[in-house]
């Protein structure tokens, strides 16, 4: 049973939220997980999602926005089907992260935080994604690709374009 009538989330997510709100000693602790699941559910955190989460956790919408804006992996606008996140932090930078980023920009014809016209790819330059041992690394949605070169990157992008990506939803 959902505590919120007419939830904008899928029944599974809504049920998950019902539980999340009860398992923390302080209700608002569920905020960050909820935002992440909401983003997975909707592709981004919409105004409606903010409003529903605020209701679920007895918070003001402003509180939700304050937390939401803090985390760079939470977004408030839709992205492409595959969100290509190129790391340019120190390890990746030394191993060619910027070349990789420039290559992606060139092949996809988009810049940082932009989406291709067909809605397939979005590109994002991100800080460390914790894959320093296999730098340079790229994260596509929740999927990691390591030890990349521009040529390998082309293959990765081609796989996704043709629907062979691991993380197809």
């Amino acid at each position: 049973m959902s505590t919120i009538p007419n939830s904008i989330f899928t029944p599974a997510t809504a049920a998950r939220f019902d539980k999340l709100a009860t398992i923390y000693p302080v209700k608002r602790s569920a905020l960050v997980p909820m935002l992440l699941y909401a983003q997975d559910d909707l592709g981004y955190v919409s105004d409606a999602a903010i409003s529903e989460i605020a209701k679920r956790l007895d918070l003001l919408e402003l509180d939700v926005r304050n937390v939401l804006s803090y985390y760079s992996m939470l977004r408030t606008a839709p992205v492409g089907k595959y969100n290509v996140q190129v790391c340019t932090n120190i390890s990746c930078m030394l191993r060619g992260g910027f070349e990789l980023l420039d290559h992606c920009k060139k092949t996809l014809h988009i810049g940082h935080k932009e989406t291709t016209a067909d809605g397939m790819f979005s590109l994002e330059e991100v800080e460390c994604i914790g894959a320093c041992c296999w730098a340079p690394a790229v994260q596509v949605n929740y999927d990691f690709h390591e030890d990349l070169t521009p040529a390998k990157m082309d293959a990765v992008l081609a796989d996704y374009r043709e629907g062979r990506g691991k993380d197809v939803k």
């Binding site: 105004d47 003001l60 919408e61 402003l62 509180d63 926005r65 304050n66 804006s69 803090y70 408030t76």
Partner: protein, 793 residues
């Protein structure tokens, strides 16, 4: 808390354990700079300006979060500390624009002061500054993002202080910004906006010019204004406000209101109306010349002499021809005590009638009657002061919605609950916002307060908890009056009581006897010394029988029995929904700022000064007496005081019996010589005037001096006899408990004439529509279709 001893800059200091170092130093006269620290709000330690060297600590520590400890040895100024503060300032100035010449805070900016002190004018940060356009969050709050130094004072003030939580911090690191609660995506014009009480406390708290006031911005500079401390005219809470006044062609204009000197009962608090709604005074519709109705039926501007002579003579004719009791007088709840007293004295001794009343907004007569002669358990009077609400360990709020109707009361209750852990009990027919602070809430049916009072006698959780409180202050909304109020007072025999009324001087009007059935101080019409004094002063005896009340006067007018009506600063036609035709055979004199619904019916209209344009005293709804100082000035208007005196003069009355002024009129029993008796003795007179000036006293040599009437009030009005003149004149508030004894029994069966004004945060009776700012704010609030504030539960 036991005291601890510690050393600051070589000085041995003592403070209670638990005191913050920054506060302890401040009390000892050692100032530690801080941007984020704000007394009364939670600690932030965000700005690093208050760093001090504490002996044996490895690094510099923040004085705003360190509590004093025994044997602590602190250095607050040293080259090392100056260097640390300078570095902090350089970082703050990294993106702070250098637009001080146009910034509203220039001249009273804490960042500016600190930069001056620590000389951080040069910066290592040569990168271009990140400019953002100014944002208009509401008609009264503007945000200039690059100026913000992220001290979070506004966020805490809005959340903790006002209990609104309309401001938050978004993004992170160097891109952090203060954000309002309406996101651009949700706002009709796609601009971030504020949906809140529009109190402007965030602007006051802001140490720089990041938040600026919509009414004051870009108008003038702080040092160009005169700052006059006076009392707000809007609700009955009696907030002190410091008005910034500058000279203009037509006199002097108010450009700003705040209370940053934290004087008065409100500390730094002011609500939307107190802070911004002074603009009615500059409204172009303001009357600036007397109007007299001509034979063609139109009101035409005439000279003062002509208007006063006409009104005075006509009033005299009607009095002589139709009798004093055919004339009615209606007073105001926004005029000063002196004016209210003078008006009822005018009615009773000049005209000779008890037909005097005003728009009552709370039943003070019942309060005074029910509380007379009773005391609390420790023998104190049972009239609560505004200060009790701020300090008392327990408060019971019955009816009313202070958040909207009496914002200072709400602020004091919240502060008391937050800082002193006071217990608040709320009984109300609505889910008022203060329910959030309440320890217990008792829902009451609408019009069901009588049943609630009965339930106090039975043993339920609420009544048991309330009755267990030893020092209880009961704040009563204007839903309760007459018999119900008396019953409530009887049900809680040891509690202190206060009534919430509307407008600056509702209580004063009642205390000053602007009532048909009692004299000033609720004294009897029959037999009291004041009654005989009035009888001797007046040309006719003061009638023993009560006069007509406000509605009675209009009934008499409809029936053709009212020959004249004198209305001072009131708009009964609109307020009581009276049909305009009622006054068609009555000669009407109106004193007001605007052509109100009542004024358009008048035969003579005098343009009157408002409370910001005159001197005197007012009593707030708790009975706290405060001084009103003349701040603004408007060409062409006169104070009500002067108008009443001049009308009496033209009526043919000896003005000296109305206002005791000039030589040889020392009030009996007054020990202080106010200078009237000195005459022109050179030297002696000068020395005396020096003394008077030094003590903020003025010689009363003019019939228009309200202090002459204050003398009389002090002499004849019970309760006010105890007022301390120097306290009053220094701008302090004093609590007046009216008529400690000897109060007459008010006759029963009296019509209930209390009509609550039902003002909200953004309305103020007839003044609302003459204040462009209030109109703007109302439009802004209406444009926010969803509610962004937390609900009461």
């Amino acid at each position: 808390m036991p005291d601890v001893n510690f050393i600051v800059d070589g000085k041995k200091l003592t403070a209670p354990a638990g005191t913050l170092l920054i506060d302890a130093c401040k009390s000892a006269g050692i100032e530690i700079p801080a941007f984020c620290y704000y007394p009364g709000l939670s600690l932030q330690a965000a700005c690093r300006m208050c760093v001090v060297r504490i002996e044996k600590a490895p690094k510099l520590g923040t004085a705003c979060t360190t509590t004093v400890a025994e044997g602590m040895n602190v250095t607050t100024e040293s080259p090392e500390i100056a260097q640390a503060r300078k570095a902090t300032l350089q970082l703050l100035l990294g993106n702070h624009p250098l637009d001080c010449p146009v910034c509203d805070a220039g001249g009273e900016c804490e960042l500016q002061d600190m930069t001056f002190k620590y000389g951080a004018a040069d910066s290592f940060y040569a990168e271009p500054k990140n400019h953002r356009e100014e944002q208009k969050w509401s008609p009264v709050v503007y945000f200039d993002r690059p100026r913000c130094i992220l001290c979070y004072r506004c966020v805490r003030m809005c959340g903790e202080g006002m209990d609104i939580f309309a401001l938050g911090v978004q993004n992170r690191g160097s891109s952090s910004i203060i954000a309002p609660n309406v996101a651009p995506s949700e706002s009709p014009d796609h601009m971030a906006a504020l949906d809140c009480e529009q109190c402007g406390m965030c602007i006051d708290a802001c140490p720089v010019g990041a938040l600026t006031s919509g009414t004051y911005r870009y108008k003038t500079r702080p040092w160009e204004m005169n700052h006059v401390a006076t009392v707000c005219t809007h609700c009955g809470d009696g907030c002190k406000t410091t008005l910034g006044v500058r000279s203009v062609n037509e006199g002097s204009e108010i450009v700003r209101g705040d209370n940053r000197d934290k004087s008065g009962m409100n500390g730094d608090f002011l609500c939307n109306k107190g802070r911004y709604a002074f603009d009615f005074a500059n409204n172009i519709e303001r009357l600036s010349s007397p109007l007299v109705r001509q034979s063609d039926g139109k009101l035409k501007p005439v000279s003062w002499e002509e208007a006063l002579t006409f009104a005075g003579k006509k009033l005299r004719e009607l009095r002589d021809a139709k009798g004093a009791n055919s004339i009615g007088v209606i007073g105001s709840n926004r005029t000063t005590n002196e004016e209210s007293y003078l008006l009822q004295k005018f009615a009773r001794t000049v005209i000779g009638t008890n037909n005097i009343d005003h728009h009552r907004t709370a039943d003070f007569v019942t309060l005074a009657t029910a509380l007379q002669g009773t005391t609390t358990a420790d023998g104190k009077p049972r009239f609560a002061s505004q200060r009790c609400v701020e300090k008392s360990p327990a408060i019971l709020l019955i009816g009313g919605d202070p958040t909207n109707e009496a914002p200072l009361t709400a602020w004091n209750i919240r502060t008391n609950v937050r800082l002193n852990k006071a217990r608040l009990y709320v009984a109300n027919h609505q889910d008022i916002k203060l329910k959030r602070q309440a320890k217990a809430f008792a829902p009451v049916a609408e019009f069901g307060y009588a049943a609630f009072i009965d339930s106090l006698a039975s043993a339920n959780d609420f009544s048991t908890a309330v009755k267990a409180e030893e020092k209880l202050v009961v704040v009563v909304g204007n839903e309760l009056r007459g018999g119900e109020l008396a019953k409530l007072i009887a049900a809680l025999p040891h509690a202190k009581f206060a009534l919430l009324a509307d407008y600056a001087n509702s209580r004063g009007a009642s205390d000053m006897g602007v009532l048909p059935d009692v004299l000033p101080g609720y004294q009897s019409l029959k037999g009291s010394t004041l009654a005989s004094e009035y009888g001797a002063a007046g040309q006719s005896q003061v009638a023993d029988a009560p006069g007509l009340d406000l509605l009675g006067m209009f009934d008499a007018a409809s029936a053709g029995h009212l020959s004249a009506l004198y209305v001072v600063g009131s708009n009964p036609i609109k307020r009581f929904g009276i049909d305009a035709s009622a006054l068609k055979n009555t000669f009407v004199i109106v004193q007001d700022m605007f052509l109100t619904e009542t004024a358009v019916l008048a035969d003579v209209v005098f343009p009157a000064a408002n409370l910001y344009e005159k001197a005197g005293s007012v009593t707030n709804s708790y009975g706290d007496l405060q001084l009103v100082a003349k701040a603004a000035d408007k060409a062409g208007v006169r104070s009500d005081f002067e108008l009443i005196v001049r009308l009496a003069d033209k009526f043919g009355h000896d003005v000296k019996t109305l206002v005791p002024f000039g030589k040889g009129l020392r009030a009996a029993g007054m020990s202080g010589d106010m200078g009237q008796t000195r005459g022109a003795q050179s030297g002696e007179a000068d020395r005396h005037s020096v003394w008077l000036t030094a003590n903020n006293l003025e010689p009363k040599l003019s019939p228009f001096d309200p202090f002459a009437i204050l003398d009389e009030i002090q002499r004849v009005v019970p309760g006010y006899d105890k007022l301390l003149r120097l306290q009053l004149l220094s701008g302090n508030d004093q609590h007046i408990a009216p008529a400690a004894s000897g109060l007459v029994q008010i006759q029963t069966g009296r019509k209930d004439l209390v009509l609550p004004a039902a003002d909200t945060l953004f309305t103020s009776g007839s003044l609302t529509r003459f204040s462009p700012m209030l109109q703007d704010v109302q439009r802004h609030q209406a444009s926010e279709h969803t509610d962004h504030l937390a609900s009461a539960d």
